[in-house]
């Protein structure tokens, strides 16, 4: 959704007929998304759609050691919480203003022309216009290029045989808690780590407009997700006491890109391509950015809409995206591998997060989407501290095993 909207806007300054198939009937990732400053600036998002500004975060280890994060944030820095319904609607409207045609429909399948023939793609979809109710009417359309931005269960991806990815399941309950308790979460988000909450991810309590979202996720133990959710609720029990669950939602989160992201004149962006980072599970910024990059590549490759593009143009978008964001993805992958391995590693992680330098580096890279090399001396100190934390936690783990036996 976000990806395609950015794509549409990117193409606004040239001769493009941007058609958008926006299915509001499909299941979207309707969870609160964290918005970084970079995204707000880069995509000119209005501040009204941001429900809440989170400036404090608490990371809680398996043994409930809580560390406050956010001391290093400057006054103008924050993590914005939005509702996807609101954000998506805004982006769709903006795309319409930019000249795109938005169709409320569901993509069904697609006929691909033979490779290199230059013929058009034929798309079959169900259109849900407001006059008719129920299943919508079947329609078809012919297009030159297709950008698949239909999320983790992408049908476009299936059509081009993009292959599968491993995915995490993220499960979330929206809980309306009493105002007194909501005060605590006014600008604070919490992250819980531990084997009880998730064996390879984290549990969270994120504030939204007038309620909180309590959730967790996992890749390897999907069938135990309810147990993990119960454990997350237990860990946050005192702080969400008296709450009422108003909504339950779940969604798959890709763990890595699909084996094939581009085929002839079809490209995938966002969750459909699998652009979700490890460790934090962030995908919204990369969805929007990849959408924009793909559109820019199409605009460039077709010389402002005057000639047909081919696969090489779309591969340019892939090249640019991979080159720009590979360090981010790799660093987060390493972090996940090192710090989400076991309870002792998570304890070390939380301990590390208490350090000011770590917080500053983390926020700089998250808010501005840059992996910035810091001061080498501080980096060295950080490395030593990291090793120290991991060693201590590992030593305690050995004691714990000795106790168990």
């Amino acid at each position: 959704m976000a990806a395609l909207s950015s794509a549409a806007v990117a193409g606004q300054n040239s001769d493009f007929a941007g058609l958008r198939l926006a299915s509001t009937a499909s299941v979207g990732r309707n969870v609160a998304r964290r918005r970084s400053l970079q995204m707000v600036d880069e995509f000119d998002l209005p501040l009204e759609i941001i429900d809440r500004r989170v400036t404090k975060m608490k990371m809680i280890s398996p043994s409930n050691v809580a560390v406050d994060i956010g001391r290093t944030l400057k006054p103008h820095e924050y993590i914005g919480m939005v509702r996807r319904e609101v954000l998506d609607a805004y982006l769709r409207d903006r795309a319409t203003h930019a000249g795109a045609t938005v169709i409320n429909g569901l993509f069904l399948k697609m006929d691909s022309p033979p490779a290199g023939s230059g013929e058009r793609y034929k798309i079959y979809y169900n259109e849900y216009s407001s006059s008719k109710s129920g299943t919508g009417e079947k329609k078809e359309m012919e297009v030159d290029a297709v950008v698949g931005a239909d999320g983790a269960n992408s049908r476009v991806a299936k059509e081009i045989g993009a292959g599968d990815y491993e995915y995490a399941i993220a499960f979330q309950e929206r809980v309306k808690i009493p105002d007194a308790k909501m005060e605590y979460y006014k600008d604070r988000a919490e992250m819980y780590v531990g084997d009880d909450v998730s064996p390879d991810f984290y549990g969270w309590v994120f504030p939204k407009c007038d309620h909180v979202a309590v959730g967790t996720g996992t890749v390897t133990h999907k069938s135990d997700i309810k147990r993990f959710q119960a454990a997350t609720r237990l860990r946050a029990r005192d702080k969400i006491a008296g709450g009422k669950i108003i909504r339950v939602e779940a969604h798959p989160i890709p763990e890595h890109p699909r084996p094939r992201r581009v085929l002839n004149r079809v490209a995938l962006v966002g969750d459909a391509a699998g652009y979700v980072t490890k460790c934090s599970g962030e995908g919204i910024y990369f969805a929007a950015k990849s959408g924009r990059m793909c559109a820019e590549a199409i605009v460039e490759g077709s010389a402002q809409g005057t000639r047909m593009i081919d696969e090489a143009d779309l591969r340019n978008y892939l090249k640019k995206f991979d080159k720009t964001y590979w360090p981010t993805y790799k660093v987060l992958d390493v972090l996940q591998k090192v710090f989400y391995r076991s309870n002792s590693a998570r304890e070390a992680f939380v301990e590390m997060c208490g350090d000011d330098y770590v917080q500053k580096m983390t926020f700089d890279s998250y808010l501005y989407k840059r992996v910035v090399p810091g001061n080498p001396l501080d980096d060295l100190k950080l490395a030593i501290n990291t090793v120290g934390s991991l060693v201590r936690a590992g030593a305690l783990k050995r004691e714990m095993t000795r106790l168990a036996s």
Binding site: P62, N64, L234, D238, R247, M400
Partner: protein
């Protein structure tokens, strides 16, 4: 010290607590499955009335039913906790449901949690009247006389005038083990602010590094001695001459690396897996490039 009492023996003569296990009045759900932390024993000091959790497990591993009941003096009250889950894992479409999930009842310290997806009625929670002042939390909280307001009281760890850091390490390990088995709610009122970094580095070194270092150095010494003798008997090169030789230096390097990296038999497999892991993510990202057979394999 944390005391562990077997379930049956714990009785507090000071109050007339007794416990009754009752079956749930609600219909059973064939796929009900729930799991609570494995709280097998109570560790409360004898001055508190005891609360017990019983875990009744059926032969079928996946269906557990938990009964939590306790009765105060003379006022029979019943509290039943049940959590049922559907079998569906995997992707669930977003469901808008109006649920009455009482995350906490009005009883101080007592929490009722119900996830009533298939149940129509909310859980029965009869009020605990009268014994509110004595009410206990259903799940056992970590308690230790030396654990004071969220951290270890170092004053209580003195041994012969100096801090007993080994004792602190033991205590912290015990606390973490307890919490791993019985996860607790994190609380704003009693935050945990213990940091392992207050234990000085030499305490860690003495306890963990030195024994391991002794072991590894011992192995290296044994290997070194016999290899030096063996090579000397084969080639006639003494120790000093061996050190000048390229092959011998390589062999030395391999031996040292081997001793350091392979400490247990499992390490060989672990190292192989580790190497696989470090490059796995890269390969996943490059999959799209290998597709078209172009030589533009990005070296990231």
């Amino acid at each position: 010290m944390v005391n562990f009492f077997p379930l049956q023996k714990c009785q507090n003569p000071a109050s007339e607590w007794f416990f009754v296990f009752l079956d749930s009045p609600f219909p059973r759900f064939p796929s009900s499955r729930s799991r609570i932390p494995r709280a097998m024993a109570s560790s409360l000091p004898p001055s508190h009335p005891a609360i017990f959790t019983s875990l009744s497990t059926k032969p079928r591993r996946r269906s557990h039913k938990i009964h939590l009941t306790f009765l105060p003096n003379k006022l029979p009250s019943l509290f039943i906790l049940r959590s049922s889950e559907s079998e569906a894992g995997g992707t669930i479409s977003s469901a808008v449901e109006e649920k009455k999930a009482e995350v906490s009842s009005s009883i101080p310290g007592l929490v009722a949690e119900v996830k009533a997806e298939t149940m129509e009625k909310p859980v029965v929670s009869l009020g605990l009247n009268g014994a509110a002042a004595d009410s206990q939390t259903v799940d056992q909280v970590f308690k230790d006389p030396r654990w004071v307001s969220g951290t270890w009281d170092l004053m209580q760890f003195q041994k012969g005038g100096k801090s007993d850091w080994d004792g602190v390490i033991d205590a912290e390990a015990r606390r973490r083990k307890w919490l791993e088995d019985n996860p607790e709610a994190s609380s704003e009122d009693t935050p945990v602010n213990f940091e392992t970094s207050i234990i000085p580095w030499w305490a860690w070194v003495k306890r963990y590094h030195l024994p391991e270092a002794e072991l590894l150095n011992g192995r290296a010494a044994m290997i070194g001695f016999f290899m030096a003798y063996f090579v000397d008997s084969l080639t006639g090169l003494g120790l000093v001459d061996q050190m000048g030789n390229f092959y011998c230096k390589t062999l030395l390097f391999i031996s040292v690396a081997g001793v350091l990296l392979i400490r247990k038999n499992e390490d060989i497999e672990n190292l192989k897996k580790l190497f696989e892991e470090t490059t796995f993510y890269d390969r996943q990202w490059q999959a799209t490039w290998r597709d078209d057979g172009s030589s533009e394999i990005k070296n990231k």
